[in-house]
Amino acid sequence: MNLSVLDGRDGRKIIGDLADYHLLIQEQPKAKNVAIYDTFDWRLFEKSLLLYGAENELILHSLSDYKIVRRTKVDSLPGFAWEFPDGDLKSLLAPILEMRRLLKLTEFRSLFTIYRILNKEQKTVVKLFYEEICRVAQEQTLCVHLHVEPVRGYPRYYRKTVDRLEKMGFVQINPKTMYFDVLKESDKTPGEYSSKLRLQLEPNMRSDEATKIILRSLLRTMKANENYIIEDLDTEFLHDFRVAIRRTRIVLGQIKRVFPADTTKKFQRDFAILGKLSNELRDLDVCLLKENPYKKMVPESLREEINPLFLFLNDKRSKVLEDFKNSLCSAEYSKAVRKWEDFLNEPLAESPTAPNATVPISELARKRIHKRYTEILKTGAQPSETANDHRLHALRIECKKLRYLMEFFFSLFPRRKISRLIKELKSLQDNLGDFNDLCIQRAYLRKTVDELPISGHQAKKTTLAIGSLIGRLEEQTQTAKGSFSEIFTRFASPTNRGLYHELFVATKGKASP
């Protein structure tokens, strides 16, 4: 049970008053600085978890009941999951954090006191964990938290204690409320950033207005990630930044004729250039993130020989990152972004020249999504013998366009039905994505072999190791290609087609989220 004290009441005094009813023991209060951690995209919060560190210990709490899930001693704060000491906490956090770095969200001072209620045998029957939270180096208490913990086998004492505390001025709180309160002091709102789109559009909204809402949201994502790319905290800041650019390009290319043609063309050009600037950096990130799985693919006898490749890639990444940072800090970039921002903030023209500008967005959305879907069916339905790399690559791009369109316009359609379609599309995309990634990585490795600054005997051994890796990647490419047909058949099933028709063609399925 989690409680907080009503305004103006003294929590300590109230707990002290419990001594009128029971034998109450107060342990020595402990003051410590506590820091809260999460990733930039709130991965722990999204899983209802709270990670905090105090005095060389990291403690993971559940935010739903405030129970301790895992704890571990650390010498220094691990940035990434793989830097945690081996154990339960690491194995629980690794799949949640993946490649994201933990950031310190806030730090506060905690004055923590344990009280114990004893029975006649002087046995502890209820534990009270009382915490006063203040800003670091300040006296004033920001909030008070009391966690009442029952001791197994003594439920009556627990119930009576909670009743008494509530009568004397404590109120029940949700631990999440306290989390929000503490972070509010550092101007942070849990869950405020997500790489997922969270747009709320109205079906009858003008298309140019709705499109600008989407684009403004994407610009916010770009800006949110910019500084962290420069700090190089983890690879996903760049990834989210690039996805925002790609989505912007797809908005400009797919939501057609909502802005004047020359304006659209000009910004499409700007974003194409901006997208290309970080292509190599992202390729390097992908390769380096896969260092361990790649090493496992190489026969054990050659595993050490592949190290020069990763040393080279790491070195190269530093240089490529510097170039990209310079581009981000350049006057041209600032100017391009400012122009884009000015355009997005311009008031809507009363009588716009673009033909689709005033068309209701739901109408345009249905048209565009249906168009993309039929294109995919056409491309994908060609006989499987022609499932060549080029066609699969084209299909991947088509799918990406469709996926983004459905995500932009998610709020305009019945949630459950569009979610189902996105899920089906996602499994097709995963297959095509795997295929494409494998092709790119193979090509990238082949290209890199020529650039490696090594020679002689070592060069031969490293080339051999890279060759065997490319061989394994080739096998995986064929597996991905082999499963395409089955996945595509599911995607193009009559049920799925019917649902696309219902949502995006038939008048009955008109926007009713």
């Binding site: 045998e121 046995k123 502890t124 001791v151 197994r152 086998g153 003594y154």
Partner: protein, 248 residues
Amino acid sequence: MNILGIYSNKGGVGKTTAAVNLSFLAAEAGLKTLVCDLDPQSAASFYFRVKPKLKRNAMGFRKGGKNIARSIKGTDYENLDILPADFTHRNLASTFNKLKRRKRRLNRILDPLRPEYNLIVLDCPPSISLLAENIFNVADYLLVPVIPTTLSVRSHLQLLTFLKKKNYAKDNIFAFFSLVDRRKKMHKELMATISREFKGILHNSIPSLSNIERMGIEREPVQAFAPTSVAAKSYRKLWQEVDETLLD
């Protein structure tokens, strides 16, 4: 998950103090631990300040299930629970004797608790009865305190003979010396002889110390009221050896 029976067919050898202190150390090391007090004298329950009372007494214990789960009490220490004894435990052997599969009744009672705990420590009463056979069947390991005196060694020998006669495996029987007085020449000599002649004798022993006797006054494990004492250190060493040698 392990069930560790602290057993001896002789009384007053330090079973309960070992059960209480070893389970405290296991819990402190992060193992979710349950002490199961099977002795009607209920000394382990007394040390943890828990009333020796079970829901529906021996009948409830015999049936297991919810009655057992409801009888478990949290101790004052993190990760450490106790299933208290009940005075009706004095009749446990005869209660089991009336039932089917009488030698495996404890398995039926304790097996459902295995998923919840990493370690269950049994504080056993001193007898070689049907209850003892239940203990031999349910425990993954038996830990026997042996005082380095002739009578205590004779009892240990009796136990080993009994186990052999009844075809119980002897590989999971371990012993440690308890209530050792190093000033006594006889203790030292007997310890040397026994360590040489018996298998499964642990290296670490528990001396005879006033702090261990004080547990009855403090009603706490010795680690809790005298963590730096020789007694506490001895149990810590014994726990480390038990953890490394016996437990999975």
